[in-house]
């Protein structure tokens, strides 16, 4: 399998604060990779570097064999990196349909073509019934789903999901997991930040663990949860007992 995304020694500093330090890993085509780590580990910063919202201080990012380190966000979206935001950035004064069509217009100026794409995506995400509703009136779960729909409308090859499950109920979470599997089965590689370990275990092929901006380990979900260093990073030292539970 060829690699769709390669991170090579990514470092991002905000003044004196080092948010990411020397992070390297890769995502293969069609793979789902989970990114976990305690709060402040630099997960979202890493996403912002990949999607072009930030320029990394040093290191290189390669997407589909092309160096995209210095590519601005809108160019990243054009070449096939879709993303969602941790706090949903839905366009509240626009309808669900309009939110999705701005994504669909990424590769075409033809409204009919874009509308066709919107129908497809709304059906995929199960949001047809909200199509004429203002995005501002949706609840959190629906807004998160809309984020995914908008990103999917840009026809991404790689989808970056930033905590799409946070704040969802168990049922909503299950629906979201199903959606992620559905999207993945269409051949889209997914890099997802997730706190809920059950979700990470059930969706990811591999898991990346970040702690204080550094890469702790990359491995299968089983390897990660059985690694004592990961457990201590999450629970704060000497946590043998908890790991047995």
């Amino acid at each position: 399998m060829s690699k769709i995304l390669e991170l090579n020694a990514i470092t991002k500093k905000f003044g004196g604060l080092v948010a990411n330090e020397n992070v390297s890993f890769d995502v293969e085509e069609g793979e789902i990779v989970g990114v976990v780590g305690p709060n402040g580990a630099g997960k979202t910063t890493l996403f912002n570097s990949i999607s072009g919202a930030f320029l990394p201080t040093s290191g290189t990012i390669t997407f589909n064999g092309k160096d995209i380190t210095n590519l601005p966000a809108h160019e990243c979206a054009k070449i096939g990196i879709g993303r969602t935001f941790q706090i949903p950035q839905s366009l509240n004064e626009m309808t669900v349909w309009e939110n999705v069509i701005v994504g669909a217009l990424c590769h075409t100026s033809n409204m009919n073509e874009a509308m066709h794409k919107v129908n497809e995506v709304l059906e995929l995400c199960g949001m047809e019934k909200f199509r004429d509703m203002l995005a501002g009136k949706l609840n959190v779960a629906q807004k998160k789903r809309l984020e995914i729909a908008r990103a999917m409308a840009t026809d991404p090859k790689l989808l970056l999901l930033d905590e799409t499950m946070a704040g969802l109920t168990a049922t909503e979470r299950k629906e979201a997991v199903d959606l992620i599997h559905k999207i993945n089965s269409m051949g889209v590689a997914i890099l997802t930040i997730e706190h809920n370990m059950d979700v990470v275990m059930s969706v990811s092929n591999r898991v990346v663990v970040l702690v204080s901006g550094r890469l702790l380990m990359v491995g299968s979900p089983q390897e990660v949860v059985s690694n004592p260093e990961v457990i201590s990073a999450y629970l704060g030292g000497g946590s043998k007992d908890e790991s047995d539970e």
Binding site: P72, H74, A77, M94, V102, T154
Partner: protein, 332 residues
């Protein structure tokens, strides 16, 4: 045609036709010079409002300095006539191109500013432009430009004795602008502008080059306001920087769009009707009380901003909301 009327229901089309018919026969019903003057001003201000609305409404970048493009439009017809005897048929499009170029040049740096900073910067630039126009010999300084010509009733120079001809000509131009905005409002360009207004990060994440689209919106906005300025100069046949390029004019342009319905197709026209009627009538009835017209004006603006932040165009839906809330209240 389908692009213009496609998404309207029968009721809306009928309403539009009735309003249009009224606009056409209005100068025949009202024969007083006062009302005919008012009608022409409404048409001109509709164009200004629609122009501002592209940038301030759809794109969400509030400019408080659009009077400089208004002045630019007026100077481009006035000065080309004075120096080159150029017909406004050429000078008006020339002025629009000039305004767009100017917007591109100053837009590059100032569109990096956001929100209040952008609003203040445009305000300052418009003031600078006014001082430049007042002090340059080339622009006749504070004396302004007189375009009055003995050979009145000239189609080539757009000068007519009968103000109705101005009215009908400007009405046609306004309808063209309206159709343009209406068509664009369902196109990629305007969807992108609305996305930028909603959230710039989200816009970039779906592949929108935010600064490129902001500049384009600013250029279109400037060109349309310049068109309005040219028409005003053409109608008045005299203008000076003190009447065209003040902060007051800039704010009026903003108010027309905000009052009618910001970011809507018809809002600026409704705003122009209300603001022009209000300012002309209060001026004629209350003008002798020195400033009382402005007080009334201010109070009305405050009321609208407080209770109808979406503009007067949202009044019907507000009333519907209020009624349904009242009904459900009774049911409980």
């Amino acid at each position: 045609m389908k692009a213009i009327f496609g998404d309207m229901n029968k009721k809306q089309v009928i309403l539009l036709v009735v309003l249009l018919a009224f606009a056409v026969i209005a100068p025949q019903i009202f024969t007083s010079l006062f009302v005919r003057n008012l009608l022409i001003l409404i048409v001109i201000w509709s164009i200004l409002g629609m122009g501002w609305n592209v940038m301030g409404g759809y794109c969400g970048q509030v400019s408080n300095g659009h009077s400089m493009y208004y002045g630019l439009g007026a100077y481009s017809v006035g000065l080309t006539l004075q120096y080159f005897k150029l017909s406004p048929w050429i000078a008006i499009p020339f002025g629009m191109c000039l305004a767009a170029c100017f917007a591109w040049v100053i837009g590059k740096p100032i569109l990096r500013l956001k929100g209040h900073a952008f609003a203040i910067c445009t305000m300052a630039l418009a003031e600078c432009m006014r001082y430049i126009c007042v002090n340059l010999k080339f622009t006749n300084g504070a004396k302004g430009v007189s375009m009055f010509n003995k050979s009145l009733n000239s189609v080539l120079y757009l000068q007519f004795k009968d103000s109705r001809i101005y009215y009908y000509l400007f009405l046609v131009i306004m309808l063209i602008v309206l159709a343009l905005i209406k068509v664009l409002s369902k196109r990629k360009f305007f969807y992108y502008l609305r996305t930028i207004r909603g959230n710039e990060d989200a816009a970039a994440s779906v592949g929108i080059d935010v600064s490129k689209y902001k500049i384009r919106a600013y250029m279109l906005s400037a060109a349309l306001v310049s068109l309005g300025g040219s028409l005003y100069a053409q109608y008045m046949l005299y203008f000076d920087p003190a009447s065209m390029m003040t902060l007051n004019v800039s704010m009026m342009i903003v108010l027309v769009a905000v009052m009618g319905g910001i970011g809507t197709v018809l809002g600026p026209i409704l705003g122009a009707v209300i603001i022009e009627c209000l300012s002309e009538y209060t001026r004629s009835f209350l003008g002798k009380f020195g400033g009382l017209d402005m007080v009334l004006y201010g109070v009305l603006v405050i009321i609208i901003v407080l209770f109808l932040p979406g503009g007067l165009l949202t009044l019907p839906s507000k009333i519907r909301d209020w009624r349904s809330r009242k009904n459900t209240g009774v049911a409980k």
